[in-house]
Assembly symmetry: C2
Homo-oligomer: 154 residues x 2
Amino acid sequence: MRITAKADYAVRAAAVLAAAVPGVPVKGEAIATAQHIPLNFLENILRELRRAGIVRTQRGADGGYLLAVGPETVTVADVIRAVEGPLAEIQGERPEQLHYDGAATALADVWIALRANIRSILENVTLGDIARGQLPESVQMLVDDPDSWKARIR
Amino acid sequence: MRITAKADYAVRAAAVLAAAVPGVPVKGEAIATAQHIPLNFLENILRELRRAGIVRTQRGADGGYLLAVGPETVTVADVIRAVEGPLAEIQGERPEQLHYDGAATALADVWIALRANIRSILENVTLGDIARGQLPESVQMLVDDPDSWKARIR
DNA sequence: ATGATCTCAACAAATTTAGTTGACAAAGTG
DNA sequence: CACTTTGTCAACTAAATTTGTTGAGATCAT
Ligand code: FES
Ligand code: FES
């Protein structure tokens, strides 16, 4: 259950673009220094975001990277899925297509619920939210009181 | 964001022990064949669970593995943390101790909320729940309606 | 044309994952 | 006691993934 450097870099770079003045390209090097990301690695990542339709690019002098769409329409989940695969995998497979037997049968449902809860965060936060520094209320509540779930219902 | 084979195996093995008749050791080979886990790898894992105090062992003929504590007192999170480190890491660090700048400042809170939501599943499901095949109501609701979060509150 | 910038394929070091091997220790059985 | 069964442990390894780097080229504005 770890977020890789690549995914973290991707979201940070996308947040920089979301915060930039619209229509003006941001240079790769500007993003790299602002977020302390190795430039070459960052360019690999930005190219993948471009292929996914999240970023668009402008070559030549005064070139750089821009968001291809509105900051409020791109979620963190979109960015992560563009550079890694699906959000939540078990042994490299999607939760649905693994099969559990005997005492572990119910484990499949645990992984499905886990993925649903991961998505409830990552698909609910947009690049605009991060750039503005204001997260959705349902997410901010979890930050303010991370132990709220401790009331166990059965 | 992936669950490794090791973590998956660990929970499955622990679920088998939770389902076994209390006080009677289960042989490593029995767990391995029941859950299709390579025996040697499984033994590595069970030894880590023993060091974590989740499992206890009995050597010799009629030996095997037993839960060291009640199935209802061990959560999936406990098992995963015993064989991997912390539940949620960003670039190998805990969400608190990473520093974000500029447009990405709010990203730290996103990771914190993400971890809180991961814990709300994994710390709420016990080995007993899995062995009995009955998950807590709050978890089961997510399985039945994985898209319930789609109502976005801001 | 020229210099700045993105594009892409290929390479590679470090780390993690997913095991395997083999010698050994303890517990029971005859 | 000898012997078999079973867990213990350290060391080793192969493959995949992560985290980059290198260098040659394509494209754009001026
Ligand atoms: S075939 Fe289902 S776990 Fe073995
Ligand atoms: S289907 Fe394969 S072990 Fe059950």
